[in-house]
């Protein structure tokens, strides 16, 4: 136990030194770059709607680190159209009302060119109408299906992270072929859980499987023992997506309920983002499977651009901060900030963006994007952007807990994630 804690710390110290050295060298670049450009152009201002406080704070902290790293990289490489970029950060309190106010602040007070970076769906949905009214390009990193469902507007795009509908449906082939066909779903009884319930149950049936039982857990629940007896005895796979602080209790009580003879278990890492897998009670997860947007642990076959991305953000091989091995990242989501900032750069360069008057051209340039090859701009993997639905599609990872670490066992293809268009935003006027 002690060893497993010691090892990552010494590793993180080494990689911290490396990162510090690299960061020190890189830090000098923006200085001269800024100097050469300062006289010719104002910086491009990107309003970062950050969850500093409220339920999304852990995500906000890592979204911030990833975004700062991406901005430092882009600026070190000369910025966008010769202009540096600057993040203008505002706390939205993970609250839709404050989120809308923050967008107004970006557009009307801080003179931001675009807004970016929101994760929680209710903040996105509360803010997006204002983005449309203010005609402010709004790049969300939310994984909600709200963009592709057609609920939002032409000014709101999600080009840097896949949506929950595509993620969930891409899991069904693996689950039914490798884990079992009789599934019991356990999910929180609110919109996030309902999305999983609706999309996965359809997808698993399309694979010849069936959902035996759907167990919805009220959001106020703190103990779960009374729900486990509802799991049918012939269940082959448990699919769980519990989120929030109660997840540790949930896993512990599930372990106590099943003991050594459990069915296969598949979950979404959303439950355990920013949570150390060596936390007490989580040992029951050994051998179970998780969806990951991007692997938390550095995989043995990781490409160099993945390592460069992780070094730039300051993530060690266990997915924790290089400065604090207990500070576990939100690896499965935060790459979306990095990729989105690179897409904003690509869109601004393609449209010759020079100021707020070109915002419409920027949206049109992003809508025209299609293939996004894997590389340092897209370290999570190759993606295909659908300009009509404003939603990107990409590979999904399925990992198994082995020795307390998540090891990738399967990569779902982009084709597995596709579904018919539900909207064509390009037909809407600006």
């Amino acid at each position: 136990m002690t060893k497993s804690i010691d090892r990552p710390q010494s590793a993180s110290r080494r990689s911290a030194l490396k990162t510090l050295g690299a960061a020190g060298a890189a830090a000098t670049l923006p200085l001269w770059a800024r100097y050469t450009n300062a006289q010719t152009a104002e910086p491009i201002r990107i309003g970062f709607q950050k969850h500093v406080t409220g339920i999304g704070a852990a995500y906000g902290r890592w979204y911030d680190r990833t975004s700062q790293a991406a901005v430092a990289k882009i600026n070190a490489e000369g910025g966008i159209n010769g202009r540096m970029i600057e993040l203008v950060t505002e706390d939205d309190g993970t609250d839709p009302k404050r989120g809308a106010e923050v967008l107004e602040k970006f557009a009307n007070q801080s003179n931001c060119d675009v807004a970016f970076g929101t994760l929680f769906s209710h903040v996105v949905i509360g803010s997006a109408p204002r983005a449309g009214e203010l005609k402010l390009p709004y790049f969300v990193v939310s994984e909600g299906h709200h963009v592709a469902s057609g609920m939002l507007n032409r000014w709101t795009l999600q080009p840097g992270i896949t949506d929950v509908k595509s993620q969930v449906q891409a899991m069904a082939p693996f689950v039914s072929n490798n884990l079992g066909k009789k599934v019991t779903m356990i999910f929180p009884d609110f919109a996030f859980g309902h999305d999983h319930r609706d999309y996965f149950s359809k997808a698993i049936e399309a694979q010849g499987g069936q959902v035996l039982e759907m167990i919805a857990i009220p959001p106020t629940e703190t103990s779960f023992t009374k729900y486990f007896p509802k799991i049918p005895r012939d269940t082959e796979v448990i699919y769980h997506v519990m989120v929030g602080p109660a997840v540790l209790t949930f896993v512990k009580e599930m372990g106590e309920f099943f003991g050594p003879s459990r069915p296969e278990i598949f979950g979404f890492i959303d439950s355990l983002e920013a949570v150390d897998l060596s936390s007490p009670g989580l040992d029951f997860l050994e051998g179970t499977y998780f969806w990951e947007g991007m692997p938390r642990y550095l995989q043995p076959d990781a490409a160099d651009y993945v390592k460069s991305y992780r070094d730039a953000v300051g993530v060690d091989e266990n997915g924790a901060s290089t400065e604090d091995a207990k500070d576990v990242s939100t690896a499965a989501h935060m790459f979306g900030c990095w990729e989105t900032l690179h897409i904003i750069k690509a869109g601004m360069e393609a449209s010759g963006y020079s100021g707020p008057g070109d915002r419409q051209a920027l949206v049109e340039a992003v809508e025209a994007m299609t293939d996004m090859p894997a590389g340092i701009e897209h370290p999570q993997g190759a993606k295909v952007f659908n300009g009509k639905t404003h939603q990107v599609f990409g590979s999904q990872y399925i990992s198994q807990v082995e020795g307390g670490k998540l090891i990738v066992k399967h990569t779902a293809s982009i084709e597995d994630t596709l579904y018919p268009d539900e909207v064509d935003y390009t037909t809407q006027s600006f």
Partner: protein, 311 residues
């Protein structure tokens, strides 16, 4: 014209004039503050004037928001009828809750209203198929029109918020100066004595709560239509605490206090968040300071020091 009438009409006139001079960000903010100040005015009738300390007013705000929002989402009835339905939903809920909750008083009333409000919040999550639960839903711009006027346009939004606020403010001023308003205060000060004088205090408290619920719903429905979003977070417990905070800061039992409190709180958060990530600390210290040095709130302090008959 009395001094108090001049004060309140003056506030309305100033807010109208601000429509033409405010820079865009402040223009949007004041529109939002006026909309939410209506909620605080509603809360003030129950708490500030009648002494009904509710911890569940978010359910009335949400009743207005969803009463209007769901109709706009699923029908083509238009913004005005949907708005009226939002008010009716708030009034009906306040009547039902009042009939039960007003059997209690004091701390029990707080707890019962909190429980009812949580039940409404959980119901919104439970019926996620229609309400989209915690995510909420967007109210389409096409549904946010009244007589061809687009309420999403800054000028129209501001003027509608101003009109609503003006009506609520003048209604409260009228209410507290007429006999029934004075009986509300009598109930707040000493319910037993009011009953002894022959007033049916249960009926009057119910009336106060229903008026309060309708006005809170008016704010919730207006927020949905003006800002295009309805979501369960507005039914959460923090949105029951906000109006209490706004009213306490501005001055409970004053007509102008709810607006001052809402404005103060908005800018306290907005400005301090520009200084530090720990802005809640600044907000907390400011609130403690205000509680220590002006326990009756801003308008309450003005009444205590300078203007004894400020309504």
């Amino acid at each position: 014209m009395s001094r108090s009438l001049i004060l309140h009409l003056g506030l309305i006139a100033v807010l109208f004039a601000l429509n033409f001079v405010l820079p865009p960000y402040a223009h949007g903010n004041i529109a939002r503050v006026m909309t939410l100040a209506v909620y605080a005015i509603g809360y003030n009738i129950a708490f500030g004037y009648t002494g009904l300390l509710s911890l569940g007013h978010a359910m009335f705000f949400a009743a207005g928001m969803y009463g209007a929002g769901l109709l706009l989402r699923f029908t083509d009835m238009g913004a005005l009828p949907a708005y009226a339905a939002g008010l009716a939903a708030g009034g009906a809920l306040a009547l039902a809750v009042g009939l039960l909750a007003l059997r209690t008083a004091g701390v029990s009333f707080m707890i019962v209203t909190l429980m009812f409000s949580q039940a409404v919040y959980l119901a919104i999550l439970y019926f996620g198929e229609w309400t989209r639960g915690d995510e909420g839903f967007v109210i389409a711009s096409a549904d946010r029109m009244i007589a061809g006027v687009d309420l999403a346009a800054p000028q129209a939004r501001y003027l509608v918020a101003w009109g609503l606020f003006s009506v609520a403010l003048m209604f409260l001023l009228w209410l507290v100066r007429r006999p029934s308003g004075r009986v509300f205060v009598a109930i707040r000060e000493n319910e037993d004595r009011a009953r002894l004088l022959g007033y049916d205090t249960f009926r009057l408290k119910l009336l106060s709560l229903v008026i309060s619920g309708v006005i809170s719903a008016a704010s919730g429905a207006a927020y949905a239509i003006l800002f295009g979003y309805a979501g369960a977070s507005f039914a959460g417990v923090q949105y029951s605490i906000f109006p209490m905070l706004w009213v306490l800061l501005g001055g409970a039992g004053t007509v102008i206090g709810p607006f001052l409190g809402t404005l103060f709180m908005f800018y306290l958060i907005d400005l301090s968040s520009g200084l530090t990530d720990a802005y809640m600390l600044i907000a907390g210290v400011a609130l403690i300071g205000l509680t220590l040095f002006a326990p009756q709130g801003i308008a309450g302090e003005i009444r205590r020091r300078f203007w004894k008959d400020l309504p």
